[in-house]
Symmetry: C2
Subunit: 366 residues, 2 copies
DNA sequence: CTGAAAGCGCTTACAG
DNA sequence: CTGAAAGCGCTTACAG
């Protein structure tokens, strides 16, 4: 009954033009059926869809449409290597939740851009090859080639927990001030011997004590700022920052925090307080202390950073810096979406952060 | 010194063709400089890059390249609405971690496809408009328009925790058997009065008791299978499944689990055992029980499903079904990537799952 | 090692 | 309400 179905169902993949030919209308009419329903009669539109169904055509090709419209409706997210670690990091998960909420509210997709696993000659290529309208650059090293490649494309972008760049809005907290506040709290409790367990200063995988030179040249802004905050507080109390051992962990996990703490607790002049640049690391420090029979906070005070969910329920509950990671993501996402729409969207103020004192820190006891 | 830089830096956006004109070579040569370095001399290649830099050209446009190559190097992930909830769901986060590890290992990006928030006329359009080479369809309702739209595109796909479809490989566990095992465990402990707290049976936002008719017509396969497993175990023990109240929660959160448990514990014939289809819900059930002064497991046994990280550390620790969510994601991701490469990649066997008995379940006591 | 030409699949002014 | 034509920015056989 239908016109020559044998020849209609050809091998070549169904395209808009193919549907138009089959129905004897112009490609524009088929395009309109999908993209501008008001431009043709409902009856014709239905015939278009019927023909499309028959030919197995699922609608306009997204890539061709993007090329023509020069718009992908996708926001790219850049996160340090490897990308899959983002899902191990409670703060990153909350952040992504916020970004996703912002992008999906405006119908945009979120592309997680892979890092350049290994292959050094391809460093950054993934960011150069991502079909997106803009980028959220989250917590990367200052000199990360992936971020460089993304920024070079001159697309709208937002930097989060990153160094500032001209023309690129920044979203984040005042990490240095927050770190100073934690350290000052410990100073006020009478502690004089400190140790620091830090996440990466640079992306070279280094694990172990990081001297002051390495601290100053840290390429992760967040790490650098937090260490500077600690240093400011301790120096302000008349202590020598140079003598405070900073143990660097290549990433932010409980297991690495444990290792770092072990190294610090082995020293002759055992610290009475350990500052960790993340809650994950701090939880590892607490584990290491317990394993040696040290009581937290009686023998050792421990403070973290970020206030992710296990911090409040840990035993003892962790003294830390609270910040709203989901809100940070939401703000970054909305800012980018607004700019993509050409709306007025000024760089926001620094987000609030506050010291949360719980039971992992206590007064120094002889 | 350089040739007329004034006119070189024009308003129109830099393109490959523009760079070629400027340098007096063919577009193909510029293309080769980026994509096939072995096709031109290093010196010429350097001149191409130099000109590109001068014109602010950041390399071939990803969209145009994708159209020409008919390949995006992106895998799309579909998850129930709204997408941002995925980041609240510990199982989903682990799953995404696995998928991401698989895709990034082969240099592919991961696109989180937004649901059709509200706008019913656009139901599924996002999946139709996603520029991807293939889809991972994760835990969606049988009749979800987003999944329908994606599958209609005939791209390679993998279904996870979804109903099987011809030609589309399935990755998941035997949910029914696992649920049966949990319920049988409670039967063996002597329990006779049960309640169930379940996550959504359909995407209509229903909250409250779900009768057997609704249970049978559930569009979420996972929910349906788990309830069938419970029913099989209880029926097998001579109990009447029809009399077991099933409280349906629209999503899987601790707060909703609490609400569901309150409803069940209000009944005259209070259950002595509550089966929850997720750990989140189960943790809410435990909270509700505690709030009424009921001891778990002395007054009420509670079992969850999935064994996400808070399950083991909760008080009491949760009896549940363990499955490896990250492994599931890795497997699904690898399977899809292999198929995209045209490699031989058979549908895998069902993944293992096992009952983990902890202290939230105990013998029935009068 | 380089070029000219075709074409990936669409959408959009411009006309009628 | 519909059409013919141009063009989005690239890559790829095909030649030389």
């Amino acid at each position: 009954v239908k016109g020559n179905p044998e020849s209609a169902i050809e091998k070549r993949r169904a395209t808009l033009t193919r549907v138009a030919e089959e129905l004897g209308v112009s490609p524009m009419t088929v395009s309109n059926a999908y993209s501008r329903p008001d431009q043709l009669s409902p009856a014709l539109r239905e015939r278009v869809f019927e023909t499309a169904r028959r030919l197995g055509y699922a609608g306009p090709d997204p890539v061709a449409r993007s090329l023509r419209r020069s718009r992908t409706n996708v926001v790219g997210v850049l996160y340090s290597n490897p990308l899959s670690y983002a899902f191990d990091d409670a703060a990153a998960v909350l952040f992504l939740r916020g970004v996703t909420a912002a992008t999906e509210a405006s119908g945009m997709g979120l592309l997680l851009v892979p890092g350049s696993m290994g292959a050094p000659e391809r460093r950054g290529s993934a960011a150069g090859e991502a079909a997106v309208d803009g980028f959220v650059v989250y917590s990367m090293a200052d000199d990360d080639p992936l971020a460089e490649a993304a920024l070079r494309r001159q697309l709208p972008a937002v930097m989060v927990d990153q160094p500032r760049r001209d023309g690129v809005p920044f979203v984040g907290i005042d990490d240095e001030a927050a770190a100073r506040a934690v350290a000052e709290r410990l100073v006020s409790l009478g502690h004089e011997r400190y140790g620091v367990v830090s996440f990466a200063l640079a992306a070279d995988g280094h694990a172990g004590i990081a001297d002051v030179v390495r601290q100053r040249s840290a390429t992760y802004r967040v790490t650098r700022s937090r260490l500077e905050g600690y240093a400011a507080a301790l120096s302000g109390a008349g202590l020598s920052w140079e003598e405070v051992p900073v143990y660097e962990c290549p990433s932010s996990t409980v297991a690495l925090g444990r290792t770092g703490a072990q190294a610090l607790l082995d020293s002759d002049l055992r610290p009475t307080a350990i500052l960790a640049t993340s809650d994950q690391l701090a939880l590892g420090v607490i584990e290491a202390a317990k394993k040696r029979g040290l009581s937290v906070p009686d023998d050792l005070s421990v403070a973290g950073f970020d206030d992710v969910s296990p911090a409040a329920t840990a035993t003892p509950a962790l003294t830390t810096v609270h910040q709203d990671h989901a809100e940070k993501g939401l703000l970054a996402g909305r800012l980018l979406v607004a700019r993509l729409r050409g709306e007025e969207a000024p760089e926001p103020d620094l987000l609030p952060a506050r010291l949360v004192v719980r039971s992992s820190t206590g007064r120094y006891r002889f």
